[in-house]
């Protein structure tokens, strides 16, 4: 049935299916791997990512947990310390705040604090982002904020390919890796390149080349940025779109290389502007590439509000195409 399913769907799949395939692969490849979280089993995953996996792997490897984020995230850390390779799903990053003590004070700290005696080879997956009118307590974009914490790696797949192939290296990594899957992307569909069977989780990736201006982005702002680049191309502005995809540690080399070439930079980030990952990149630019920049930085981020339910307000709160286009244009001295 697995093979049949793969065959049936070929290499065209949704981001959701890509996440599922990645989990399936991880569990098949490593007997120490298991998935744990709320409603990952019986319910099939709150965004249907894990549908069918309980039947396939059984309740020990697809472990439904009670509502107890701190305990089961901490249990993931403990299991990792003791030799397992847990994949913990926090239903959405909004609930991850309940587990932050475990993430910061234990997962991110114990390897260093124990003098390297213990590693925490753990993956924590969570859904992130806004755009489905779920209101303030269900619309956070916290990936950039988590990127502040030493000892963590933070990934944000923005393509079906990354959703498909990031989990394996993340689980093979000896460090706690947080993967943020954007809720709006789950339905995104793409054809996978059969030649690609893995992705690198240490580097950003140029998704579109361009000489005039660099657009740095990730997650659900990536498709928006690519669309903006198309619009800009129509006006003769060639934007280079860089998918950060690794938010910690940031891939300075790729970022600086692009900005040094284009000498202009727009950052598009669904996090609240102040203190988002766009802030850190901006600071690095003014520290490290000050003389290479021809124009001020422009940031297109979420407005600094709890994201409202009403559609028009939510839309106004999030980075949108026209703002990205306008930002790039303004850097080129256009109106």
């Amino acid at each position: 049935m697995r093979a049949a399913e793969q065959l049936a769907q070929g290499l065209r799949m949704t981001y959701r299916e890509a996440c599922r395939q990645a989990i399936r692969e991880a569990l098949n490849d490593d007997p120490r791997a298991f998935l744990m979280g709320e409603d990952v089993g019986l319910y099939g995953g709150c965004y249907a990512v894990t549908k069918g996996l309980l039947e396939e792997f059984g309740p020990e490897r697809i472990r439904d947990t009670p509502l107890a984020e701190s305990a089961f995230v901490g249990a993931g850390i403990g299991a990792a310390l003791a030799g397992m390779r847990p994949i913990v799903e926090i239903m959405t990053c909004n609930f991850s705040l309940l587990a932050l003590d475990q993430i910061m004070n234990n997962a991110a700290t114990i390897p260093h604090m124990s003098g390297g005696q213990f590693a925490v080879p753990l993956v924590i997956r969570m859904a992130t982002g806004a755009g489905r009118q779920l209101a303030a307590q269900h619309s956070h974009s916290l990936e950039g904020w988590y990127a502040h914490i030493p000892g963590l790696k933070v990934l944000a797949p923005g393509t079906v390919e990354d959703a498909r192939y990031m989990l394996k290296p993340a689980l093979a990594d000896p460090n706690p890796v947080l993967i943020f899957e954007h809720i709006v992307l789950y339905n995104a569909e793409d054809e996978l390149d059969p030649a690609v069977t893995s992705v690198d989780i240490s580097s950003a990736k140029v998704r579109r080349e361009g000489r005039d201006v660099t657009i740095l982005t990730y997650g659900n702002s990536l498709p928006k940025s690519l669309e903006a680049a198309e619009t800009l191309a129509g006006e003769g502005i060639e934007a280079e779109v860089v998918d950060l995809r690794v938010l910690r540690p940031l891939d300075d080399a790729t970022i600086f290389d692009s900005v040094t070439r284009t000498r202009r930079c727009v950052i598009v980030d669904e996090g609240w502007k102040s203190g988002s990952i766009s802030a850190e990149i901006g600071a690095r630019l003014v520290e490290e590439r000050f003389f290479e920049l021809d124009a001020p930085l422009r940031r297109v981020c979420s407005r600094e509000v709890p994201i409202p339910y009403a559609g028009h307000l939510e839309e106004a709160a999030l980075p949108q195409l026209p703002q990205i286009v306008e930002a790039a244009r303004s850097l080129m001295g256009r109106k």
């Binding site: 319910y43 701190s70 309940l98 269900h138 409202p308 009403a310 559609g311 307000l313």
Partner: protein
């Protein structure tokens, strides 16, 4: 307020009508969701109406309510007008939260309705704080705090139960045990599935009651509120109930059988109450038609109110992120 519910004709019909208002309001919401007038998450209270309606009978105006994302029933039973509620569902400025909260976040200051809260367990600490304020201010008010049995897994449940009893706070804990937290069956989630027994770990008085029977809920709530107001500290009610529909609008219900749902539907608080009132000659077919008409009219009006609503200007997006003053 006396301890026992008055089971006269008027009160019987009142309870029935309150439940019907919720049921029909939500049925309309489900339609409007299909029609994409309502978006986001929509969690229906269908099947659980007896809980909110029963509890609210025991509350006075001065009392406070803390609810969950499944808050339509609580808001309606608390007496918030349907118009602003429906407008909130539509995301309109005229909604009870200016359209910013939607289905999960009804607020009403005038009713001391401290919000639907979409973080499971997240309302409990708020309830503790509201009750602490009321205690310090000697207002005599009680805070009714609603939550699902799933919330009993969260650490905050434990912390709050302890604080409430330790500080003898006027909180009525209302656990709506509908046997599932999304797709998680209670017996897979809790080592002790009698939730009310957990209260003993805090020496808090607690009982499990039939959450499908509004009169039983009301009677228990009156006893509990009486005890709380007398200064005996918090009280815990586990209301055993069931949701007839999916958890939210995105739920294939793989985790339970149709047979189980049917069994519980046979205990539908609305049809049982109706039958009982009719058998007891407290509800004539004229009464029924009248109530039905009133409820339909109220909902039609609420929908019209919502349809006529306006959008909050986008320029106001940042208003109230920081408040200029504390509202009086």
């Amino acid at each position: 307020m006396s301890e026992k519910p008055h089971l006269d004709r008027a009160h019987g019909q009142h309870l029935f009508k309150e439940m019907l208002r919720i049921r029909r309001f939500e049925a309309r919401c489900a339609e409007l969701y299909q029609a994409q007038k309502i978006r986001g998450f929509l969690h229906l209270y269908d099947g659980e109406e007896a809980v909110a309606v029963g509890i609210m009978q025991a509350l006075e105006e001065r009392d406070a309510v803390v609810a969950t994302y499944r808050d339509h029933g609580h808001a309606i039973a608390r007496g918030i007008a349907m118009g602003p509620l429906m407008a909130e569902m539509y995301g309109m400025l005229e909604g009870c939260s200016r359209g910013r909260g939607g289905s999960m976040h009804f607020f009403d200051r005038s009713k001391r309705f401290y919000g639907g809260n979409a973080i499971v367990g997240g309302g409990l600490p708020l309830a503790i704080g509201v009750a602490l304020a009321d205690k310090d201010l000697r207002s005599g008010a009680v805070t009714a705090c609603f939550f699902g049995e799933g919330a009993a897994g969260e650490g905050e449940f434990h912390e709050c139960m302890n604080l409430a009893e330790l500080w003898q706070l006027p909180v009525l804990f209302v656990c709506e045990n509908n046997l599932y937290a999304m797709g998680m069956p209670l017996e897979y989630a809790e080592a002790e599935t009698d939730i009310y027994r957990k209260a003993s770990a805090y020496r808090m008085p607690a009982e499990a009651i039939d959450g499908m029977a509004p009169i039983a809920v009301e009677a228990a709530a009156r006893r509990a509120v009486e005890s709380i107001r007398t200064g005996n500290g918090p009280y815990f009610l586990e209301c055993r109930t069931y949701r007839f529909r999916a958890h939210s609008m995105f739920d294939a219900q793989l985790y339970r059988t149709k047979e189980e749902v049917a069994l519980w539907k046979a205990r539908d608080p609305l049809s049982r109450m109706q039958a009982w009132l009719q058998e007891s000659h407290m509800l004539s077919s004229d009464d029924l038609a009248r109530i039905d008409g009133e409820v339909e009219a109220e909902i039609d009006e609420a929908v019209a109110f919502a349809e006529a609503g306006t959008w909050e200007p986008v320029e106001d997006l940042e208003r109230f992120v920081l408040m200029d003053e504390v509202p009086e």
